[in-house]
Symmetry: C2
Subunit: 168 residues, 2 copies
DNA sequence: TTAAACTTTCAGTATGTTTTGAAAGTTTAA
DNA sequence: TTAAACTTTCAAAACATACTGAAAGTTTAA
């Protein structure tokens, strides 16, 4: 396979994965493009390569900056803004996990905590079932939350190394 | 908060979480409803409670069965089919992880493996960057894959217990 | 058999999300 | 200043996904 063809395939795959995980396709594709670009790119270049509109490119780039996945770069003597992606995979994974926790897990944990407090008749099967399910899910969610915390603080090698020592 | 109100809130929250994670809202809601129901429910009851159409209920129930999250139950002397959810949170988490790996991670791994094989000029920065990004992501994806494997085989207590011993 | 009870399908509709492109806004150099 | 270079916004259009409901299909009991 040619490099050019491979790049296209990578961008497509990353885009598809993104859309399956609630990140919009274009955002994932722009990210992929910057991941395989040795140099920072301009909005113009991104628009051309992915054949997307100026508006779309602009919004997507702003979103990616918001997610902490890419950064603006100013080149001396140039008016245009350049964008480049952090190429460290571990940082990317951490950044995405962090953002999603904040947006999705945290609010759910809050509701679950509230729902475990609901009181009722201990002999009512409806109450028993509700309570058991909510309590169990809450426990699981808290575990995930703690593990993520550890992940955010950890170095990549330490994290996976420890995990493998453990799991052989 | 009343039990009835709490149930509604649980169903809503679960539905929202589902839709943020690429599982459709109705599917997550039906699952939530069954999770807090001590008895198996009929299609009719589900339709009424969640105010969805017969067609939607039927498709969603089949999907949930496909995901291994709920099962049909036949009651002696009855024509109607009843549905109930596995209430074991650990099983649910495992089941969802298993399905998503099969549907999403596996195909991506296959492409990444292919892309790491692409050959090129070692001195070309474009090739270097492409290769580094793809190789790194491939490594990360493989790690995730292995960890999931361990999770599928593990008992809940052992899994989280080990993780915590490790992470203190 | 047959008809009532129940389940499944699917074309059309509704709803939600993403993208476009032109206009408005901002910055910079002369 | 002013005008060119560039960035941002947003209403409307395109696209994607989910849902409805009536019709077709299946099963069961008598």
């Amino acid at each position: 396979m040619e490099l050019a063809e491979a790049k296209v395939k990578f961008i497509e795959t990353w885009g598809k994965l993104g859309s399956e995980w609630g990140i919009n396709r274009t955002m994932a594709q722009v990210h992929a493009l910057l991941l395989v670009s040795p140099e920072a790119l301009t909005t113009e270049e991104i628009m051309e390569t992915l054949r997307i509109s100026r508006g779309n490119a602009n919004m997507t780039l702003r979103d990616l900056i918001g997610w902490g996945l890419i950064e603006k770069q100013h080149k001396a003597g140039e008016r245009k803004e350049y964008f480049y992606a952090d190429k460290d995979t571990w940082n990317i994974a951490r950044q995405v996990a962090k953002e999603r926790r904040k947006r999705e897990l945290d609010p759910v944990l809050k509701v679950l905590e509230e729902l475990t407090q609901v009181e009722g008749d201990q002999n009512d099967p409806a109450y028993q079932t509700f309570n058991k399910s909510v309590t169990d899910i809450n426990k699981l969610a808290k575990n995930v939350d703690k593990t993520l915390d550890t992940m955010f603080k950890a170095e990549e090698n330490w994290f996976w190394g420890s995990l493998f020592k453990l799991f052989k």
